[in-house]
């Protein structure tokens, strides 16, 4: 696990070593153990290494036997042992024990199709000196990041945007369309990033630069076209599915424990991380270390469940207890890593948790990420099912009650009348035909936060057709899929890589040199999940039915029987003290001052002031108020750090990478 960077001058101008060193130094937090560069006239590759596999032999950039291909690689190829055996039988020989060399040999054998053979999480660049081809690729689900830009006849790429900004001719300018996407979906739709002309290589895509042309192509697609939602599954078949899921996830976990350093696990107290912990324990034994986040706020805290899992499974457990003040304090540094505004503070506790993991001597953790998306866990799936069910009989007295039952933790919902519920949840007859049926209530609610945009910003955004941006990225037959499959696709193909694996995943973990590994995101598990009949994932309104059937016996009953609780962190109170209404940290007052709001131009000072008054008075209780506040603070920080004070931040970052760990 590492940081990568590099460039190709399309006009043949020689690459500059000092530029490459600067770029990779800035990613020192991703790979503090070693670094290196490789140059071949117009091409440069750079690497900063977090040593996990073949610690002595894995230096990068690495070359193949005749030095004709070179690679800089971030990630892990978990099936490298099997691949190396296959390749050996085809006559390849290896000089290291690393997965990096396996990619080089796979590329020699299969060219750009090499990625089809890989089981893992990757972002890499290969320079093929014979074909004069630069080949970039990113894993199927978007676990590892890769950004690129073309400017002044150069293609420049890196694990993080900040390294690209060192290149002359590349400036950080806020992309207003991307900003509107963040204030709707929570993230920009790849390939867009929050900055104009800086792109993300989308998950499941490769980029080939050859003969002066750049070609971006998809190598993998999440596909629900085979699903028949009406299929009933007899009991005996349930056991067959359950058995296959058990075997696949066990193997996915087994190969994710391949490392020459100790591996820990995150434990949220929910079903998914408990299953992963239980499976990991089978291989690691009693020495397994687990880590979790706890909160002061009892409505958010899951410590009791975590402790129960720790007691039953017997792990060495460490917890970080986050206060609202700490979360607020962390935000500026966290934003330097997420490189994107956020509408929730939820990444901040995970930023603090990865520091605990690192300080405990761990570089690798397994987590339960990716189960909710593909195993039928999310409330939004259930919500869509209930809405469709109610829409089929609008005058039902009982059907609306299911929505209240779904969100016991949302105090605001419990008192609502059916008429209001119907309005909030867009329940109307015939509505399920909308391709975005499942997600419209969430997006429309979130998009209300655009109310705070300045008049100038709104004028520039006014011609947009809502959701057209997303529509253009969907598979051709998407609208023919059933509601549940469509909802799963929207979560798995967009929210997962766009927010959960990035702002709440790679970026906050790698800020402290910690690599996350996700057995539920093994592509065999995901592809299998796209063939599971929907009724087995969510039986009536029982979420994760098959997953519980497969693993219920391995985790404490308190975990399988508990009501599902989404991971949330406190929001508005992280910035203002609810007792005296004062900003908790100097930067909050500064970022939200009318002067700076006006200067940065994105938001309207008057409306923001009203929101702040509401927050200070402790009246900012709604989802909208909270999202808007976090969105405004984090957008101001993005502009402050990446646009206005970029040069200072870049030199800070490079110096800090050399000396000490990122956080103190």
């Amino acid at each position: 696990m590492c940081g990568i960077a590099g460039l190709l001058n399309l006009n043949g101008a020689p690459a500059e070593a000092e530029r490459l060193w600067q770029m990779i130094r800035l990613l020192g937090h991703r790979g503090p153990d070693d670094s290196g560069i490789y140059m071949d006239r117009a091409v440069g590759l750079a690497h900063s290494r977090l040593s996990i596999i073949d610690i002595s032999g894995g230096h990068q950039p690495m070359h193949n036997g005749d030095r004709s291909t070179w690679i800089t690689f971030n990630g892990e190829i978990f099936n490298y042992i099997e691949l190396s055996k296959e390749l050996s039988s085809k006559g390849h020989s290896f000089s290291t024990q690393s997965d990096t060399e396996v990619i080089l040999k796979l590329y020699e054998e299969y060219g750009p199709d090499c990625v089809q053979h890989m089981n893992g999480q990757w972002a890499f660049a290969i320079w093929d000196t014979k074909k004069k081809r630069l080949f970039l690729s990113r894993d199927r689900l978007g676990v590892r990041p890769l950004f690129y830009v073309t400017a002044r006849n150069s293609l420049v790429f890196a694990s993080e945007i900040k390294s690209l900004l060192l290149h002359p001719g590349i400036d950080a300018v806020i992309d207003l369309k991307a900003l509107a996407q963040v204030f709707t979906y929570w993230f920009p739709l790849a390939p867009r990033t929050i900055f104009q002309n800086i792109f993300e290589l989308p998950p499941g895509h490769s980029l080939i630069a050859e003969n002066g042309k750049i070609d971006v192509r998809r190598h993998w697609q999440l596909d629900y076209s085979q699903i028949d939602p009406t299929v009933e599954v007899p009991r005996a078949r349930e056991e067959t599915y359950s058995e296959e899921l058990r075997e696949l996830l066990l193997d996915a976990t087994r190969i994710r424990l391949r490392a020459d350093v100790p591996v820990g696990a995150y434990l949220s107290g929910g079903l998914d991380s408990s299953i992963i912990t239980a499976l990991t324990k089978k291989f690691v034994g009693s020495s397994l270390c687990t880590f979790s986040v706890a909160f002061e706020d009892r409505g958010l805290d899951e410590s009791a469940y975590q402790q129960e899992v720790v007691r039953v499974l017997g792990t060495n457990h460490r917890t970080i207890r986050c206060t609202a003040a700490e979360i607020g304090e962390t935000l500026p540094e966290m934003i330097w890593h997420t490189e994107c505004p956020v509408l929730r503070t939820a990444p901040a506790p995970l930023f603090l948790l990865s520091k605990l993991v690192r300080d405990s001597g761990f570089k690798v953790v397994l987590t339960g990420e990716g189960s909710d998306e593909f195993q039928g866990g999310y409330d939004i799936y259930k919500e869509a099912k209930i809405r469709a069910f109610w829409a089929a009989q609008l005058d039902s007295k009982r059907r609306p009650l299911l929505l209240k039952k779904l969100y016991p933790y949302l105090a605001g919902l419990q008192r609502q009348s059916p008429a209001y519920l119907q309005a909030f949840f867009h329940v109307r007859s015939g509505g399920t035909s909308d391709p975005f049926f499942s997600h419209l209530p969430r997006w429309e609610l979130t998009a209300k936060s655009q109310l705070f945009f300045s008049a100038a910003v709104r004028a520039q955004l006014q011609d947009r057709v809502p959701y057209a941006d997303l529509q253009s990225l969907l598979p051709q037959d998407f609208s023919r899929w059933d509601v549940f499959s469509r909802a799963q696709y929207l979560e798995g193909a967009f929210l997962l890589p766009g927010y959960l694996l990035s702002s709440q995943g790679d970026r906050v973990a790698m800020a402290h040199s910690v690599e996350g590994r996700y057995p539920f995101l093994d592509h065999r598990v995901v592809e299998f999940s796209t063939r599971i009949p929907p009724r087995l994932k969510m039986k009536v309104l029982k979420e994760k039915y098959l997953l519980k059937l497969a693993f219920g016996g391995m985790v404490p009953p308190s975990v399988t029987q508990r009501p599902k609780q989404p991971y949330r962190a406190p929001d508005a109170i992280c910035f203002f003290n609810p007792v005296n209404g004062r900003p908790r940290h100097p930067y909050v007052g500064e970022m939200l001052s009318p002067e700076l709001i006006r200067e940065y131009g994105i938001f309207d000072p008057g409306t923001v002031l009203k929101l702040i008054e509401k927050v200070k008075a402790g009246r900012a209780t709604s989802f909208l108020d909270n999202s808007a506040l976090v969105g405004i603070v984090s957008t101001q920080l993005i502009i402050d750090q990446f646009v206005v004070h970029l040069r200072e931040k870049l030199s800070d970052g490079a110096n800090r990478a050399r000396s000490s760990p990122v956080c103190n």
């Binding site: 605001g412 209001y420 429309e444 008054e613 209780t621 989802f623 909208l624």
Partner: protein, 85 residues
């Protein structure tokens, strides 16, 4: 009645419109259609009305007929107050 309308209107502008576009809000506008309130928003309105006008609001009164515009709220408050008196 007019005074109640004025006060409710100001509360809605401060809390849901955040002062923006207040000229465009008529006292008949539906909050739902304008997208001004979510579930917590309704309860915020209820809390405001309960505190300000000393009326109690049982759950069965929580319907859009009573809460979905400035005028409807004023009428609702008026009705409640006259009952008390």
């Amino acid at each position: 009645m007019e005074q109640i309308e004025r006060e409710v209107r100001q509360f809605v502008i401060d809390n849901f419109l955040f002062g923006e576009g207040e000229a465009q809000l008529s006292n008949d506008d539906s909050f739902l259609e304008k997208g001004l309130v979510d579930s917590m928003g309704i309860l915020t309105l209820v809390a405001f009305v309960q505190d300000k006008y000393a009326v109690t609001v049982p759950d069965e009164d929580l319907v859009p007929e009573n809460w979905d515009s400035v005028k409807r709220i004023a009428r609702f408050v008026q009705g409640k107050s006259s009952v008390i008196r």
